[in-house]
Symmetry: C2
Subunit: 234 residues, 2 copies
């Protein structure tokens, strides 16, 4: 449809390789990371974070021991402590970055667009594609929120409400212009979020059924648009 984002285009444009992400993390954390040489640091960091995400997704953050992580990443226990100062700090490192990336992406794709139908489509697609590219981050951040240190916990909740708000605003805008049917915008926003989350939380299911991220997005959009166009029921 007009204004739609294709996954392949999206992926090319955001270009989020692990190494690039780690480079950015390194530059923003010169305080916490004790290594000087950027090349060295970025390489180890990538190994550590990749392994950490893999393990956290498999067993959860609390059940991942740093000895596991050392084995999985190939970086020794001692050396890892040159990259973070505690296990909680490692969580912060993984977490903080993903958030900034997603906000940047979401705001980018709808800026300058006026039509609520298109804003809705594009923001859902972007959210879905971002979670596809950064699946382990999204999964971690959903499942481990409870175990975050207080400051991170608060930020995670705010982030949930922030993205939901984005959808609610678009819906209310469409309604006030008489384009969308009247309906509870907040509940619809929550429903959209929960479907978006299902995509990255239950990857095993969708992979097994060979549903692609674009299939999923198209289904979601058809479902939601059908509701918003419906004039029969008040």
């Amino acid at each position: 449809m007009d204004g739609d984002i294709r996954f392949s285009t999206f992926k090319r444009d955001v270009n989020l390789t692990m190494v690039e992400i780690c480079r950015e993390i390194f530059r923003n954390n010169s305080g916490g990371i004790k290594i000087q040489k950027e090349e060295v640091a970025v390489r180890s960091l990538a190994k550590i974070l990749e392994a950490a995400l893999r393990l956290c997704n498999r067993k959860g953050f609390a059940s991942m021991s740093l000895r596991d992580l050392s084995r999985e990443s190939g970086v020794s226990l001692g050396a890892m402590y040159s990259y973070f100062s505690s296990k909680d700090d490692l969580l912060r490192l993984m977490q903080g970055h993903g958030r900034s990336v997603i906000v940047r992406i979401l705001e980018g794709v709808i800026s300058g667009i006026d039509d609520p139908w298109i804003r809705l489509r594009r923001s859902i697609q972007a959210h879905l594609y971002a979670s596809e590219v950064l699946q382990p981050w999204f999964y971690l951040s959903y499942m481990e929120t409870r175990n975050f240190p207080a400051d991170e916990f608060k930020k995670a909740l705010e982030s949930e409400l922030y993205t939901e708000r984005m959808f609610v605003d678009i819906i209310m805008d469409g309604q006030s212009r008489g384009l969308f049917r009247p309906a509870d915008a907040e509940l619809l926003g929550s429903a959209i979020k929960s479907m978006l989350q299902d995509w990255y939380l239950k990857r095993w299911k969708y992979t097994a059924r060979k549903v692609s991220v674009e299939d999923y997005g198209n289904f979601m959009l058809g479902f939601i648009e059908s509701y918003l166009m419906d004039r029969e029921i008040s």
Copy 2:
């Protein structure tokens, strides 16, 4: 609407008090539980399981230490081991029961009903209400699946697919009778599940917004029915 289940009725009918549940657990686990007197056992068991669910919901199973649990439940560390033989065993105790309860409920509410519209409404309502009454169980079983011992893990996945299948079957039945629009029944089934799950996973959000379980159910049903009735789009 006709055939609808009211939450108050549902709650009265299933009558799932903690003590009743613990009594049933006790009777099914006379092997594992070393206490003889039923009254004594049920009382302690209720204290332990209530506390365990509270702590698991707050910090996760892995982060809950048995010392925490002893403090929270008021039962000493030593005494608790008369009720289960290991921490994993405690998980099995909490988990196994909930599953049998939910299957029993879900099958009960649609047996003998033919109309797909009513079957759909009732199965969604029952699922939602069950998760409301047993919220901590549902939450635990969703969030901790990864950490279950292999056999329990498998059962949890099967259970996810089983209830989803229930919805898919109803949808396909409605479609083949020409009552529901053609649409991807499996994806719609998944979407229904994800909305049902959002209710018990994000209670904080809905409580803060003063959305009742019946409000939520009505919204879900309106959303889904609007889609299934829609004849405009193929």
